[in-house]
């Protein structure tokens, strides 16, 4: 997977020192008084540039909330989130929207694509929302992504004409197209059979390894997490554990341990 116009993987980007995003003492509460629920309690986390980080935890552990806040989709109750040099907790709605459009990519579990647009228009959506077409160089990158993801023959298809795995690959192509600082993937394989799921994870891992793409993936699937360079465990709104690249068995073991101590 090499491409002339691809991100040059800078020497420091692989497990490098500079974090692409820093979550500092973030708390998120819903409701007030007795009904108050703390989804996140004083969470701090650095996402390193060029790394593929998995955030794991049982349902209700706060992993999706953490992702939403880090991606500027939701507001933290307190604490700070830095994306590069930008403190995103200080941005207004329009600034956050532009930040998501230009510097962040998203892959959701389902409903990733605009049903009225064909594959090609879905991939180019972030550019078009910016009121522009992809530049020649960006065009070449998109063409290469489309070819690599096996979507050449699907460009004029609408989302409902694609399989679940194809839809996720289109979402990944859209997320990678703008070469964002960071891609957020929320259970990207949750709706797929295991073969399609492995394909999607392979694509994400390659994007990170070969192109220095920083990725944060939320999942509760140990197999999915085993594709990551680093796995962070969340329980009850707190980060409770962290491991480097691990096998599904090792990750499951950690999860079981956490269940036992919970």
């Amino acid at each position: 997977m090499t491409h002339p116009a691809a991100h040059p993987a800078t020497p420091t980007s692989r497990g490098g020192a500079a974090p692409v995003a820093r979550v500092g003492n973030v708390t998120k509460s819903f409701g007030l008084g007795d009904g108050r629920v703390d989804a996140l309690r004083d969470v701090s986390l650095d996402l390193r540039a060029g790394q593929f980080t998995a955030v794991m935890g049982p349902s209700g552990s706060g992993k999706s909330t953490l992702m939403h806040i880090t991606a500027g989709l939701d507001q933290a109750t307190s604490g700070r989130v830095m994306l590069g040099d930008t403190d995103i907790t200080r941005l207004d709605d329009t600034q956050l929207t532009l930040l998501r459009r230009r510097r962040i990519g998203f892959v959701f579990q389902a409903f990733n694509l605009v049903p009225t647009l064909d594959v090609s228009a879905n991939i180019e959506l972030p550019f078009r929302l910016d009121g522009r077409r992809a530049s020649v160089e960006e065009r070449a990158w998109i063409d290469w992504l489309v070819g690599t993801l096996g979507l050449d023959s699907r460009l004029t298809h609408r989302p409902h004409q694609l399989s679940g795995g194809q839809q996720q690959r289109v979402a990944i192509a859209r997320a990678l197209a703008t070469r964002p600082d960071l891609i957020f993937a929320d259970e990207p394989t949750g709706n797929l059979d295991s073969k399609a799921g492995r394909d999607v994870l392979e694509v994400l891992r390659t994007a990170s390894r070969d192109h220095g793409q920083s990725i944060a993936m939320v999942t509760h699937d140990p197999v999915a997490a085993s594709y990551a360079d680093r796995v962070v465990f969340l329980a009850d709104g707190r980060i409770v554990h962290e491991v480097g690249a691990s096998t599904p068995a090792e990750i499951s073991q950690v999860m079981l341990e956490l269940e036992r101590t919970a």
């Binding site: 939403h68 989709l73 939701d74 709605d93 329009t94 929207t97 532009l98 998501r100 459009r101 230009r102 998203f106 959701f108 389902a110 409903f111 990733n112 694509l113 605009v114 049903p115 009225t116 647009l117 228009a121 959506l125 972030p126 078009r128 929302l129 910016d130 009121g131 609408r158 989302p159 409902h160 859209r174 709706n191």
Partner: protein
């Protein structure tokens, strides 16, 4: 399966009173939600009844006026005529109302698909489910009819009271309610139930599986083939068009041609309404292209035709209203300028002018009421469609659409529908109006063609209407669409 059994046993057996109260409260809140969904349909039914009851009540008052005047001998004929004219306009309003209600019910059923699927999963038959929806149609119809009878009668009572007080009308002991005057109320209930029944067709397509599966993206652009309807529409349009042309040609020699042209016009316009599902989507797409190729315009253009049948039903009522108003305006205006060009006596010409203007205003008001009902339908369609697109809107916000872009998209969508409906109506109305005037006047004009005259106030009025309609139709949905955060919207099912 076992959970269901337990549930049922619990419900049937000795459920504690607390649980029963909770169930009642849940049922009440479900009922409230349903009432909210049906509010526009109640409004449409109420508007239709108000219009019908008021019109027939006015006609009833006229009859009493005429009966009180011994100078008029043929009062029976006059009142029958009045009732006949009134029923044509009421019938039109009810027809448009039925289209709107059927569309609303289709949309409501689409939004309720998960609930219906769950009920099917728990063992309810599709027919039972459909009957539930139809019963709601009955409730909506009766509620609307009751409101309409009260409001319509009150309006006439107040109006007559004011006119009597001013001395315009003689102070008679008027009765306002006649048995015949209640016919619109009954008709509204009947058409609303029929519309709900037609609109609930989609209930039959909901499978229990849809309750278990993850929400799938709605297939876009898959339209059912309606061969029979299309063929019928084509026959009506072609046959009616031939008659219309024959009427115009006959009219060059004899003004009786207008009768042939009239039949041709009614037939061909019926064809247009029946076959609207082939015409309107193309029109919407064409107008959508005029809005440019920016992303916002492109999304809006695709949205307006994503469900061609639904957009068609949302706009056809406006097309009908605008076509009829334009037909009358163009015919009368052409007639007026023709007479103006040959009439020598300025006093008589001025008198004719006043008569034409009054006739036109009254007719436009009567037909325009149907257009108001149709507009309610369009506004409602926009609101519901935005509600049902929450996830998609959340996705658009997540990948970088600003609030302004979302608002712009919805406004353009509404504008596209309003402009298309009005342009199609003006084009059709100009053709029919001209054909009417031409077939009537051709002979008087020594067998020559007459250019149609488009009244400028009408065009200005329609342009304003389009702007207001688009603005109103976009207002609530746009606020709704932009008030949710991307996270909420993405979590919605």
């Amino acid at each position: 399966m076992s959970a269901t059994t337990v549930d049922r046993a619990g419900a049937r057996g000795s459920a504690p009173t607390g649980a029963r109260a909770a169930a009642r409260a849940a049922a009440r809140s479900a009922l409230r939600d349903q009432l909210l969904e049906h509010r526009p349909s109640v409004l449409v039914a109420a508007l239709g009844t108000t219009f019908g009851v008021a019109l027939l009540s006015v006609s009833h008052v006229f009859e009493q006026l005429i009966a009180s005047d011994p100078a008029v001998a043929a009062s029976g004929t006059v009142s029958t005529m009045l009732d006949l004219v009134a029923s044509v306009f009421v019938g039109l309003a009810l027809y448009v109302g039925a289209i709107v209600t059927a569309n609303t019910f289709t949309t409501v059923v689409a939004g309720r698909t998960p609930t219906i699927a769950l009920m099917r999963l728990l063992g309810s038959s599709a027919r039972d489910q459909r009957r539930v929806v139809a019963r709601e149609g009955l409730v909506v119809g009766v509620a609307g009819a009751l409101i309409g009878v009260v409001v319509g009668t009150l309006l006439v009572v107040v109006a007559v009271g004011v006119l009597v007080a001013r001395g315009t009308l003689p102070d008679l002991d008027y009765s306002y309610v006649s048995v015949g005057g209640l016919v619109p109320a009954v008709a509204v209930v009947a058409t609303t139930v029929a519309a709900a029944w037609i609109g609930s067709r989609r209930v039959l397509q909901v499978t229990p599986l849809q309750a278990t599966g993850v929400v799938q993206e709605e297939p876009v652009g898959s339209r059912p083939r309606r061969v029979l309807r299309t063929v019928l529409a084509a026959l009506l349009v072609v046959g009616g068009g031939v008659l219309l042309l024959a009427g115009v040609l006959m009219g060059l020699a004899n003004e009786a041609g207008v009768l042939v042209a009239f039949v041709g016009g009614v037939l061909s316009f019926s064809g247009v309404v029946v076959g609207a599902h082939t015409v309107m989507p193309a029109g919407l797409a064409a107008v959508g292209r005029l809005f440019g190729s920016g992303q916002v315009a492109r999304l809006a253009a695709e949205n307006a035709v994503r469900q061609p049948e639904r957009s068609t039903r949302a706009t056809i009522g406006i097309v009908i209203g605008v076509t009829l108003v334009t037909t009358m305006s163009v015919a009368l205006e052409t007639l007026r300028s023709f007479i103006g060009s040959i009439e020598q006596d300025p006093a008589y010409a001025a008198e004719l002018d006043t008569m034409f203007t009054t006739t036109l205003l009254v007719m436009a008001g009567l037909v325009g009421f149907s257009a108001v009902i149709a507009a309610v339908g369009m506004v409602n369609d926009m609101s519901l469609s935005v509600l049902q697109r929450r996830r998609e809107l959340g996705l658009l916000r997540a990948v970088g659409s600003t609030v302004g872009q979302i608002r712009g998209m919805i406004l353009l969508e509404a504008a596209q529908m309003a402009v298309t409906a009005i342009v199609v109506g003006v084009v059709l109305g100009t053709v029919y109006g001209w054909a009417g005037a031409q077939s009537l006047l051709g002979a008087a004009n020594q067998g020559m063609l007459i250019a149609p005259t488009l009244p400028v106030p009408l065009l200005v009025g329609l342009a304003l209407t389009a702007a207001v309609l688009a603005g109103v139709a976009a207002l609530v949905p746009a606020r709704r669409a932009t008030s949710v955060t991307p996270v909420e919207a993405l979590a919605a099912r």
